[in-house]
């Protein structure tokens, strides 16, 4: 079965600094990959999604992610973090022949220092 690992439970960055949140997946083939964001006291919202094709995917609010089959990774990046990015970020994977169901990682809490 597929799985997702987010090795960092918490990441702290200064406002204006660059950001990378790590995600590793486990699956034999090429999965569909997603990043969702959860702002305080809200449900999750889609940031970006990867379909097989261009390995770099652009999302909302300046976020992007890069798929690497050789590293089984789908890391999230942002060039300059804003205080409003303070949230929990979830990586997720789905496999088409598994009925589209998403498997989520445990999430990374992003704290932004002013």
């Amino acid at each position: 079965a597929q799985s997702v690992t987010q090795p960092d439970a918490r990441v702290t960055v200064s406002e204006g600094a660059s950001l990378q949140l790590r995600c590793k997946y486990s699956y034999f083939g090429t999965p569909y990959l997603f990043w969702y964001v959860q702002y305080p006291r809200q449900g999750l919202q889609l940031l970006l999604k990867y379909y097989p094709g261009d390995p770099v995917v652009q999302g909302v609010n300046g976020f992007e992610a890069e798929f690497s089959k050789s590293n089984s990774s789908f890391h999230l990046r942002k060039a300059s973090v804003h205080w409003s990015d303070w949230a929990v970020y979830f990586c997720a994977v789905s496999i088409r022949n598994m009925g589209y169901k998403l498997t989520f990682g445990t999430g990374t809490s992003l704290l932004v220092d002013p």
Partner: protein, 114 residues
């Protein structure tokens, strides 16, 4: 604007009592999901549905039932609530596109079982 609405927003229940969590979507999506969110576990799938009248077991269905009486409504039922079911519960509807599914989440129900 697509919308998924959950009720109640907060619920306190007693051990052994029956709890019903409700979810309504105006997206006209066929697929709907119930997840619970716990620290250190991320989101875990409880039940899901592919349409009115259908329910399927997710990864952690024990102690939960689901009901999908219509396209718009999907309920999660705890017949005999236990303290281990204290959690935040999220409902989502799913839009399948190009072989992958994007989920739209409600704002969550915080359930405390005493």
């Amino acid at each position: 604007e697509a919308a998924v609405t959950q009720s109640p927003r907060n619920k306190v229940a007693v051990t052994g009592g029956k709890v019903t969590l409700s979810c309504n979507q105006t997206n006209n999506h066929n697929n709907m999901y119930w997840y619970r969110q716990d620290t250190g576990h991320g989101l875990r799938l409880i039940h899901y549905s592919y349409g009115a009248g259908s329910t399927e077991k997710g990864d952690i269905p024990d102690g939960y039932k689901a009901s999908r009486p219509s396209q718009e409504n999907f309920s999660l039922i705890l017949e005999l609530a236990t303290p281990s079911q204290t959690s935040v519960y999220f409902c989502a509807s799913g839009d399948v596109n190009w072989g992958a599914e994007t989920l739209y989440f409600g704002s969550g129900t915080r359930l405390t079982v005493l």
